[in-house]
Assembly symmetry: C2
C-alpha cells in the first residue's frame, strides 16, 4: 500500500460499534473455526506497536488435550484460591460467575513477552522495562478487535498461576506470561459487559476518568 488511506464517518461509526460490542466472552459454541484463523489473527496482532520495534510477542497455540487439561486445572485451583478471598454475598456472587471459556473455546492461545529479546536494542526499555509487556498487550487487543470484526468472541483469562503456565506449556521462564486467550463463536452477544449483567460491577462515567493539569 503506497497511498495514505482516508477513513470516513461510516467507518468511524462502525469502528465505534465494534468497540461497543467487543466483550470478554466466556460462553463459546464448540463449532470449529475456519482453518488459518489463528494465523490471520496473529498476523493482525503483528501490526501492533512495540517498544523500540522489539516485537516481544510470542503466541503459543494450545491444541494438545493434555496441556489444555493441565491449564484448566491451573485455572480451577487459582479460581478456588481467589474465591476464598471473598465472604458473604460477594463470595456467593463470585462463585456464580463464569470466568473462563477454557472448556469449550475451539481456539486457545497463550501469549507471552520475551523479556530477553535483543530485537529493538533495548530502545525505550531502560526507564520502563514493563513496556515489553505493554507491547504484547496492544497485540492482544488487536487480536480481540480483529476477532470481533470476524464475528468471533475472545475471553482473556488471568486467573492462572503464571509460573505453572510456563511449565504446563514447556516454554522458557524468560517468557513472561501475559494472557491466556479463548477464542470462538460466542453463544450470545451484547453491548453490556457480562460483569455488569451479573451485578458484579458497573462502569463509571467517562468524565470521572478525566483530569486536567
Amino acid at each position: 500500500m503506497t497511498e495514505t488511506p482516508i477513513f470516513d464517518d461510516d467507518f468511524r461509526c462502525q469502528l465505534n460499534e465494534l468497540l461497543t460490542w467487543r466483550r470478554d466472552v466466556r460462553e463459546f459454541s464448540v463449532e470449529p473455526l475456519p482453518g488459518e484463523i489463528a494465523e490471520k489473527l496473529i498476523s493482525a496482532a503483528c501490526l501492533a506497536p512495540s517498544v523500540g520495534l522489539s516485537e516481544p510477542w510470542r503466541f503459543v497455540i494450545v491444541e494438545d488435550p493434555a496441556r489444555r487439561s493441565a491449564l484448566r486445572c491451573n485455572f480451577e485451583e487459582a479460581n478456588k484460591d481467589a474465591l476464598s478471598d471473598y465472604t458473604g454475598d460477594r463470595a456467593q456472587l463470585y462463585a456464580n460467575l463464569k470466568l473462563s471459556g477454557m472448556n469449550t473455546a475451539p481456539l486457545q492461545i497463550a501469549v507471552f513477552a520475551d523479556q530477553h529479546t535483543i530485537q529493538g536494542h533495548g530502545l525505550g526499555r531502560q526507564t520502563m522495562p514493563e513496556t515489553a509487556a505493554y507491547s504484547v498487550v496492544t497485540a492482544i487487543h488487536t487480536i480481540w478487535i480483529t476477532a470481533r470484526s470476524e464475528g468471533l468472541g475472545l475471553g482473556w483469562v488471568s486467573i492462572l498461576d503464571k509460573t505453572r503456565v510456563n511449565e504446563d506449556l514447556e516454554v522458557s521462564q524468560d517468557w513472561q506470561f501475559i494472557a491466556y486467550l479463548c477464542i470462538g463463536l460466542p453463544i450470545t452477544s451484547s453491548s453490556t459487559p457480562a460483569l455488569e449483567k451479573s451485578k458484579w460491577e458497573q462502569r463509571g462515567k467517562v468524565p470521572n476518568f478525566i483530569f486536567r493539569r
Copy 2:
C-alpha cells in the same frame, strides 16, 4: 444499540488498513485540533476491556506550559541517560532518532493506572495484579486506533522517569504511570515504522512469533 452489528469484508479491509498505517508519530503539525477531540478519544478508550470491570484508567490532559516544560526536561534527561548505554555506530544512530513529539503535539495526555481502585472488587487481580496496568494499555491502544481513524497521529513516550512524572503533574504516587501520549496531525504518514526507516530495527516475519503445543 440493541441489535448485534455484523461487519463485512469492506469494513475488515479498512480495519486492516488502519492497523497497517497506525504509526508511532513523533513529528506533528502545531495546528490546533478540533475542540472536544480529547473527550471523544477518551470516551472510546472507556470502551476498552478492564480486569474485573475495574476501569483503572486515569487520563490527565496536560495543558499548562510549565508542566509541559517540566515533562520535556524529564524526557531529555532520561533520553541522555539512555543514550549513554550505547556505543559506536549504535550510539550515533540513537542520537539521531527523534523519540518524542512533546515540543509540538497540540494534545498531550499522561495515562495512569490507579492500583488502589476498589472498582472491580479485585476480580482477576489476585494472581496477576499487573492486569490493572494491562487494562490501561488496551485503553491507550483504543485511543491510538480511534485517533488514526480521525486522521490523527499518536506517539507513546516511555523514556521518562516515572516517579518524577507523578511529581511533575501532582498526582498520587498510587497512580502507576503507564504512558505519555502526544497527539496531533502527523507531518507524514507511512505504512512503515519510523524505526525501520531509520535503520534502527526491522520487523520479524509473522511465523517466527507462532509456536504450537
